[in-house]
Symmetry: C2
Subunit: 684 residues, 2 copies
């Protein structure tokens, strides 16, 4: 019968109400009785749900926004939302529900409403980051849980359990064609029957069912790994909230095969099966972190359904079980520069064996997935400013660019920045000198060590450093020591320790034909800076600068707008000292920031936001790779960069804050005077 004759349509029209959702501002008119999850879905409002509206998961919590009715021209709210239902009460009794909160799937529209979706109820939640220059992380994980109710088998219409599950997922969740592994088929029938035809499945990228459990399951976790040559670190995150629930780290046990990367590759080359030993060692560390993170968060390893990895190319290859021998010499060919998605079991990762694992792409033979992670974290490809990002390890990974163009290179800095090749050098650990000040008048030095807040000339320093005492000097300490020596005139612009000042201090001491300077007397033992130390740092910083300079030449800029220091070393050095030594080009000091473990942050972003994976893969494909070893200009830049801070480059910003010693005699006037005029000019 036509509606006009029955009057049904008119009645329906009377029983409708307006609903406005905040903060999105989306609005619509719905029949009285519509639940708010349904209304939100109809309007495309970002309201979460795992159980699909069955009052189990509590993800669709909303509040009524009584105060804002007038703003939207609506009447006040009394009675406009249905009464608190038995289902909501059951949820509240079992799992708790704040006073003003309602379950969107059970609260129904009874009159005009303004409904607020709190941040924790949004599907695409934001994880807010503290630094202004980087964007927040959207929680949009590759692995999602879906609660589903499956039809029982019917002999009149025989279909497989899997096909009925897929149908239910299509009908209840709008999911398309789904694949699955045989391991799911092996568990499927039992899970469906144990849960009385209710189950929760984990789905990877809307394509593949990777896990199934009987009944409802609300939590899934992921691990983001940063696998460094020295340390392996991981963050365990709740994939629904994006919250990091545990952060763990361990020394890379590969150190027993060689302190630095190249000696490990040599080990693999010299010893049959050595690559397998290295692979087993790093996988052992990675699995230890699974256990540690799960224990710290109080979850089972089996609850971990996704993992992401960043690391340098050698760690990347070894984790994947690829012999890194080709990365040990020219032409440094990667096995692949694509991102990899595989099963946890394929790399022996002791999480849920059906978990998926994602490796960010490597960029080139020396520029790894760790650099991809840094780029994903720092997003130079979204920046109007031209950003220079340096991540210093045995190789410095250098990225330069902006939203139009990104270049990447690596430079062979060697391990000097990490305290190796330095006579009194040591790893960053309690007792290591990390801060140095030298009085330019007296040429006296004072130091601070890791694990103690006092300077060495302050009362109580000896007591505070205790049994450990002062044991050596770490990477950031060397930078400061050399920069302070340079500012005090103890080191000349060409890097020579100036023995001619020996009359003014007993800290200088002749060593064969060179000199050394005593930073600190630790009991019987002197901690000194030797000429070889200065040379080692000069070589390292010249390599770093020359790499950055090559990229700047390509972009035809004299200086970047911003500099980001990434990695542990970047976190600890003082930008001013790095610039005084000429490690990095000139830049306003307030535009030099430390990104901390940006590679690890990149891994976490890829874990929480599947769109970020596509994004970094796209960006990496577009990156221009510069191989410093075959660039003829590199050698010239390197030689020029040996001087402190540089033979020719200007440091106008730095010169405004620091009085730099005059340049080498043949160079003419001081750097501070000549610099300002050239700032911002294009080089070619």
């Amino acid at each position: 019968m036509p509606e006009a004759l029955t009057g049904v349509k008119d009645e329906a029209a009377e029983a409708e109400a307006k609903v406005v959702f905040t903060p999105s501002g989306r609005r619509g008119t719905f029949p009285v009785g519509t639940n708010l999850l349904q209304a939100a879905r109809d309007l495309g409002v970002d309201l979460d749900s795992v159980c699909g509206g069955r009052g189990i998961c509590g993800r669709c919590q909303i509040t009524i926004s009584t105060g804002r009715f007038a703003k939207f021209g609506l009447e006040s709210a009394a009675g406009h939302l249905s009464a608190f239902s038995a289902n909501e009460q059951r949820y509240k009794d079992r799992r708790g529900l704040a006073e003003e909160r309602r379950l969107g799937c059970h609260a129904t529209v009874q009159g005009d409403l303004v409904i607020d979706v709190p941040p924790d109820s949004q599907v695409h939640k934001q994880v807010v980051r503290k630094r202004a220059e980087v964007r927040d992380i959207t929680v949009n994980p590759a692995v999602r849980l879906h609660y589903v109710e499956v039809e029982k088998p019917d002999m009149h219409h025989p279909t497989g359990d899997f096909e009925r599950l897929a149908t239910a997922l299509r009908e209840q969740w709008g999911l398309g064609e789904l694949e699955s592994d045989v391991r799911i088929l092996q568990k499927l029938q039992k899970s469906l029957r144990e849960g009385d035809w209710k189950a929760t499945v984990a789905i990877h990228r809307k394509e593949r069912i990777i896990a199934i459990w009987p009944g409802f399951r609300g939590k899934a976790y992921g691990l983001a790994y940063d696998v460094g040559s020295t340390t392996v670190a991981a963050h365990l995150a709740d994939l629904s909230t994006g919250e990091v629930v545990a952060s763990v780290g361990v020394m890379n046990p590969q150190i027993r095969f060689g302190e630095d990367l190249m000696s490990r590759v040599s080990y693999a080359m010299m010893n049959p099966g050595g690559d397998i030993e290295l692979t087993e060692a790093v996988r052992e560390a990675v699995n230890r972190l699974v256990a540690d993170a799960a224990a710290e968060a109080g979850i089972a390893a089996d609850d971990i359904l996704n993992a992401t990895f960043v690391g340098n190319p050698i760690m990347h290859h070894l984790l994947l079980g690829i012999d890194p021998v080709e990365l040990g010499g020219a032409p440094f060919a990667l096995a692949t520069n694509r991102a990899q998605t595989l099963w946890a079991s394929e790399i022996g990762l002791a999480v849920n064996p059906d978990a998926r694992v994602y490796f960010l792409p490597c960029i080139a033979g020396h520029v790894g997935a760790d650099a991809a992670g840094v780029i994903l974290s720092e997003t130079p490809y979204l920046s109007d400013d031209t950003v220079l990002i340096v991540d210093v390890g045995t190789n410095a990974e250098i990225v330069l660019g902006n939203r139009e163009r990104i270049l990447a290179a690596s430079s062979p800095t060697g391990p000097a920045f990490e305290g190796a090749q330095i006579v009194c050098g040591q790893r960053a650990a309690p007792g290591a000198i990390e801060r140095v000040r030298i009085d330019p008048e007296t040429l006296e030095a004072r130091v601070r060590v890791i694990g103690c807040d006092l300077w060495s000339d302050e009362p109580g320093f000896d007591a505070a450093t205790g049994d450990t005492g002062v044991t050596g000097i770490c990477g950031s300490g060397i930078i400061e020591a050399l920069a302070e020596m340079y500012l005090a005139g103890l080191i000349r612009p060409d890097g020579t320790i100036d023995g001619g000042l020996g009359g003014r201090t007993d800290r200088l001491q002749a060593e064969d034909r060179t000199f050394s300077y005593r930073l600190y007397r630790a009991g019987e033992r002197d901690i000194r800076i030797y000429q070889v130390d200065v040379r080692a740092i000069q070589l390292a910083k010249a390599a770093l600068y020359a790499g950055a300079r090559l990229l700047m030449d390509r972009l035809r800029i004299a200086a970047p707008d911003r500099i980001v220091l990434a990695g542990a070393f970047g976190t600890h050095i003082e930008p001013k000292y790095a610039m005084i030594l000429g490690m990095i080009p000139d830049c306003a000091l307030d535009k030099v920031t430390s990104a901390g473990n940006a590679a690890g942050t990149g891994a976490t972003i890829a874990l929480l936001d599947q769109a970020a994976r596509d994004e970094i893969e796209r960006v990496v494909r577009g990156i221009e790779k510069v191989e410093t070893a075959v660039e003829p200009e590199f050698q010239r830049h390197f030689v020029d960069a040996m001087a402190l801070p540089h033979a020719t480059a200007d440091y106008p910003h730095l010169s405004r804050q620091v009085t730099l010693p005059a340049r080498l005699a043949d160079d003419g006037g001081a750097v501070a005077e000549s610099g300002g005029r050239r700032r911002g000019r294009r080089r070619r």
Copy 2:
């Protein structure tokens, strides 16, 4: 410079020649000097190549078809093909080349030519089948080999080895985006360097690199499995020629857990881990066949890169490691009814671990991938005739249909047809009675046994059967014995052994209140047919007929146009006797054929022709499944089908060749008279 000014174009036009390819008849004009592989590719002529035109693989052999020049209006051939090249001579010396054969990649066009592509040089070769009613098999395997030359890494343009391989495959083979497993990445770098940047890759369905070898490799093999409850059989095929190079079989070692399928499922249900034992047992058999087939063909198991499987649902599930418990009782839910493609390693198949494995789809809980194999082999979906296909095992799988509609069912025949539940029954083996004739006048029987060509009343029979003697009666023997007894009046249409004839023969003997008939006296022991035997066969044949009849009802036909008897049992029984007993509906006897192991043939087709996989998946999705257990009509059909040949159904075709005894008294006139009129009429 424009061509018109240089005259180059005119010169080129002068130096062109016509080429006709047979048998395709494709023709075109090519510059002199074009090689014939290139010409064939340009014209879309089906000319094979693995090495991509490098004179290594010898797949592109052609002959000059001198005699047919006039037919195509071309001049004679002298000098129209380039002289035999050094490359061809090298190939000939190394691998042999028939006198008239040339390598298409090195023989070049010098004048007008008619070129014949012999069948073994075609990409899509045909494997010719002997039976008229089935189509030939196209060789179009899922796994193909491609020889490829890869660019070396270049530090100026750093890319991964995998990406350069993919580029080479795109440029040299026109392949698109390719995936690979991490296992390929683990072998990739070594393979490329060992082969000096020449390699052969195996590619699955143009999508995924599954294997790589240094240098050239010309052969790949596949295994097609038919996994039955009693025996497991496999064909090893050369994936390039389609030739079956080894056929092997083994008893299913699961028999130690139970003779029939249901007792094995019970074992799995009663014993924790029993399903795993069953899985291990069948996988052990499957792996034994890998070794046997490889040994028989003289190849390595590692050369086997693809495998296909058919089997009943329980074997299908067990092979996949899925507990078959749900298939042991109503509602007989399959874990999945989709085809499965997975890694050999996932089912522990001891071929190349990177081989892909394909399971044909199951149709329903009792109608397995074996039935899908039968359908693929017999192609009822391409038939204008309506075909009934029966494959008899413990369950009979029944398929009925034509190009418009296909129905499938299974019927619980029990193991009587296999000689079980028969007092003197035994498996088909030497000494088992397989043929029986009974003289209707004397009521004397003569028999023939497996392994002996003589009848028992012929001289030398005892000597010929030797030490084995006559040991029992197998499935096909029982069918003949009962049919002959029925024709001789020894069995009444209701299945009763007629003791009233005892006066005419001493072979009848009273047993409590029933009678038995002696088929043969083997020394001290009689081989007899008992009343219980007749009842067991009546139950089995009634189930089979009733299942077929349900499907005929659905299609509204009284009889099929053709009948195909599949499986070992179908191969050995005489269609006439099957019809006399009413196992199958009436049909012209010359339209009843035996398909042999059609399920295994289906597995072989799916192995050799990837398009057949898509085809059977599409067909299976469209099949109407009929579950006999829930069809109310089944019971009535079953009861009617207990009589010999049937209480009501007509056998007009049969009656023309065999004089059937009169029907039961209450049925009126003889079958032969009433039948003809109803033939071909629609039932509803």
